[in-house]
């Protein structure tokens, strides 16, 4: 499988471990960064990782930040993404089987690495159970009004990054 992966600077080590874990299982991994521990912003990586899934470059996505919340929310705000923020294997199974989740998210400061491995395994191995009710629910989620102008725009956050560079946000 081709897996798109992304993280913020809080969990770069965990993400790097997961890249080798997935490659060790024979998957092709697209690593969207971040690549070091310099302070950065999770929506950049949530968006990038998710867009690879929507475009079909990757089959599924994995995103990690401190609690998993910020990066999962940003991935889910990409049209066509159904992201599941989980802390246990059973929720990962449900999200894939019933909602056909295409991105899985965890908090690297919340879930231990053994459980993270199990969650990813379950997410990749579980198959979506097609039914009228499941298809209908997914259609309703996908039909929610969404911003299309952001799609594949790598400069979408430039206004905020510029403000950040110019000291427009408190550095605390």
């Amino acid at each position: 499988m081709r897996i798109s992966i992304g993280c913020d600077h809080i969990v770069t080590d965990e993400k790097n471990y997961l890249v080798s874990y997935l490659e060790g299982k024979g998957h092709e991994v697209i690593d969207n960064g971040t690549y070091d521990k310099e302070r950065t912003h999770y929506p950049i990586y949530g968006k990038k990782t998710a867009e690879k899934v929507v475009s079909g470059e990757a089959d599924l996505g994995v995103v990690v930040c401190g609690t998993g919340v910020g990066i999962s929310v940003s991935s889910n705000k990409v049209k066509g993404i159904r992201s599941a923020l989980v802390g246990d294997v059973e929720t990962a199974r449900y999200a894939k089987e019933t909602l056909n989740a295409n991105v899985i998210a965890m908090g690297g400061r919340i879930v231990g690495i053994g459980l993270i491995e199990n969650i990813i395994d379950e997410f990749l191995e579980t198959e979506y159970q097609q039914s009228e009710a499941n298809d209908r629910m997914i259609e309703r989620i996908d039909a929610l009004v969404m911003n299309e102008e952001q799609k594949n725009d790598d400069h979408y956050f430039d206004e905020f990054l510029e403000k950040w560079e110019n000291g427009g946000y408190p550095n605390e």
Partner: protein, 142 residues
């Protein structure tokens, strides 16, 4: 604080319990799903619109797993929703993500932990500061 709460059929019992907990903590609770037979999509949409209209300060949505409400809520403009299953995330996500809604899976989180999650969440304040750039980014996305 004014808190909008909603659930589907599988979250109904825990929602009723959380209403008592929130009242006991001194909060005003707006029950957006007094009917028991909604699905998580409709329950989530009801809580989202009340939070979007600023009729409530925060929202809580309860179904079996929390995963469905998370997907639905975060598709809405200006909504940042966390699926929460531990007290630390409940506190941190308010502080760092300015989360306006939390989802709880009643099939995953027991009643005692749910109480503590809700308490941690409503007692936490947004930290602002450097976190605002990320929140600005999320809100621009949708």
């Amino acid at each position: 604080m004014k808190i909008a709460i909603g659930s589907d059929a599988k979250g109904f019992e825990l929602k009723e319990h959380m209403k008592e907990v929130l009242n006991h903590l001194g909060h005003e609770v707006l029950d957006e799903t007094p009917d028991e037979d909604l699905d998580f999509f409709d329950a989530t949409t009801k809580v989202v619109s009340v939070v979007q209209d600023n009729q409530a300060d925060r929202g809580i949505i309860i179904d079996e797993y929390g995963a469905g409400p998370f997907m639905v809520a975060n598709k809405h403009k200006g909504i940042i929703c966390a699926n929460v299953f531990d007290e630390h995330s409940a506190k941190m996500t308010r502080g760092h993500n300015n989360t306006s809604i939390i989802a709880i899976g009643a099939g995953i989180v027991g009643p005692k932990l749910a109480e503590k999650i809700v308490e941690s969440y409503v007692n936490a304040d947004y930290d602002g500061g450097r976190h605002q750039i990320r929140v600005d980014m999320l809100n621009k996305m949708c």
